[in-house]
């Protein structure tokens, strides 16, 4: 090892104790005969210590600390979405949810199709993921898809502020107070009531009632919105939240839309795109000319993984 190699390849990692045992031995062998590099290492460590000492950790202001604790207490008692709308929300779970025992809710999840479908999906997944890296290299660079651009705009908006509006009976304005139906539950119980309620609301609006079960991939259903496009067509927005980010599902009727060229991967009704820094899954429904666009900021492989693992109504058919 010469000085140039030590400084460019080893110095910083040496100062940070990030060398492997073998690398450390090689580095120390070099330092034993090189005073200049020993001085460089001492300087590197001194700079590291100076940055730590003088830049340091800032103390959280007391008012910020208080508001964080207050928000945590509110979320703990009322639920996550209730906190998001804390200025206007009353409380809490619907009477049906409160009355139904937990074991009954869980029993409703134990559907044979769910696990059979997951097992089948896993087989597809292995093949799909294995090929995806290769395909994603020739992803959709250069093409412009207005529907995807709109999806990006909606995603940006709803990441900052998503206010569910379905089902209407569970999310209504009473004397100026909005009553939330979502309570803070663990990921498994989130599968039950919320999914059913949102799906029912979509179905009643003659929209596909498919709610992805992304829980296995670390995402929970945040809620749904039912809106109308400027030409009157209904559109649903379903937001899933995970600690690594969000997935937004947008679904509407479009008889003329075809899969744009440049898909990184296509499998059955799904086409996956790496588009403008976003990962997109375009799905064509077998009936009704409905299309859905799933969009996230996570790498495309993660979206493929999530979609493949998720239980959808499509998989039930």
């Amino acid at each position: 090892m010469d000085c140039q190699e030590y400084i460019s390849e080893y110095l910083a990692a040496h100062a940070d104790n990030e060398l492997t045992a073998q690398e450390r031995r090689a580095a120390e062998d070099h330092l034993a005969g090189c005073p200049a590099c020993r001085a460089q290492l001492a300087e590197e460590r001194a700079l590291k210590a100076l940055v730590r000492q003088h830049v340091g950790i800032v103390k959280t202001p007391a008012d910020v600390r208080r508001s964080i604790r207050a928000a945590l207490a509110e979320v703990s008692e009322r639920g996550f979405l209730a906190w998001n709308r804390r200025d206007s929300f009353g409380a809490i779970a619907s009477p049906r949810q409160a009355a139904e025992p937990l074991d009954k809710r869980l029993a409703r999840l134990n559907r044979p199709w769910m696990w059979a479908s997951v097992a089948a999906s896993m087989l597809v997944l292995v093949v799909l993921i294995a090929g995806l890296d290769m395909f994603s290299r020739r992803a959709s660079r250069g093409i412009l898809v207005p529907a995807f651009d709109n999806a990006i705009g909606k995603f940006a908006r709803f990441e900052r502020d998503f206010e569910p509006n379905v089902p209407p009976d569970a999310f209504s304005d009473r004397n100026g107070i909005l009553y939330a139906w979502v309570v803070d539950r663990d990921s498994l119980t989130q599968l039950s009531d919320k999914v059913d309620d949102v799906a029912r609301a979509y179905r009643e609006a003659d929209m596909p009632a498919d709610i992805y079960h992304f829980e296995q991939s670390g995402y929970g259903l945040a809620g749904g919105r039912l809106e109308r496009l400027s030409d009157g067509r209904a559109v649903t927005y379903t937001l899933y939240q995970g600690y690594q980010g969000n997935i937004l599902s947008i679904c509407y009727r479009d008889a003329r839309m075809a899969a744009p060229v440049g898909a990184a991967y296509a499998a059955g009704v799904h086409s996956f795109y790496d588009y403008m820094g976003y990962s997109i899954c375009l799905t064509f429904y077998p009936t009704g000319h409905f299309v859905s666009i799933l969009i996230s900021r996570q790498p495309l492989q993660q979206l493929v993984w999530a979609v493949t693992l998720a239980e959808t109504a499509i998989a039930q058919k």
């Binding site: 300087e43 590291k48 940055v51 340091g56 103390k59 928000a71 803070d184 929970g220 600690y243």
Partner: protein
């Protein structure tokens, strides 16, 4: 294997024990990313509440600070940064220009030799030098040197390979040394 925590009060108690000791660290990072106390407060609040909601996915025994910072950076990438279109320096050419500007400012502000020797002045110089770094190098340095994450944890937060963290830390420190030297020269002290 993700740790499963209890619900309600138990979950909150555990969260407060495990996660809230890192509040200052997360606030520091939020302040650095947003560069604005109001935005930092919002970003911190969103991060902590998101972490609480998904606390059952935190792997017991791993570095909770790194987990919280991962959530913070994701929140920032997903929402706040796009809302804040104005970006700091992104290339080494920008670094040169910013460094030049900062050197001129430092030169103009140089009035008290005693203050220059004080720790306060050194802290100011370090802050200035850090601010001139392209953000990818600054973020890597802050996570490793200030937040005391190892390379693997920093790679997780930044969503980049470990080798990239290693090279960014190395390059970042080299740029820091260069910036400090130039700032010292601008103030009539070369340090050599």
């Amino acid at each position: 294997m993700a740790a499963k925590h209890g619900r309600g009060d138990n979950k909150r108690f555990l969260f407060e024990q495990v996660a809230l000791p890192h509040l200052d660290a997360v606030y520091t990072a939020a302040l650095r990313l947003s560069r604005n106390p109001d935005d930092a407060k919002d970003l911190l609040q969103e991060t902590i509440l998101r972490a609480y909601r998904f606390f059952d996915q935190f792997t017991k025994g791993t570095n909770c600070r790194a987990w919280l910072l991962t959530i913070l950076y994701n929140s920032f990438r997903n929402g706040y940064r796009r809302a804040m279109r104005e970006q700091p320096a992104t290339s080494t050419e920008d670094f040169e220009q910013r460094l030049e500007a900062q050197s001129l400012i430092a030169d103009a502000a140089h009035t008290d030799p005693e203050q220059m020797l004080s720790g306060r002045m050194l802290g100011h110089q370090l802050e200035t030098a850090l601010d001139t770094l392209p953000p990818e190098f600054r973020e890597a340095l802050l996570l490793v040197d200030v937040q005391e994450l190892n390379y693997r944890e920093a790679a997780g937060v930044l969503d980049i390979p470990v080798g990239t963290v290693k090279s960014r830390v190395s390059r970042g420190r080299a740029l820091m040394r260069e910036a400090l030297k130039r700032l010292a020269q601008a103030q009539g002290k070369t340090g050599t």
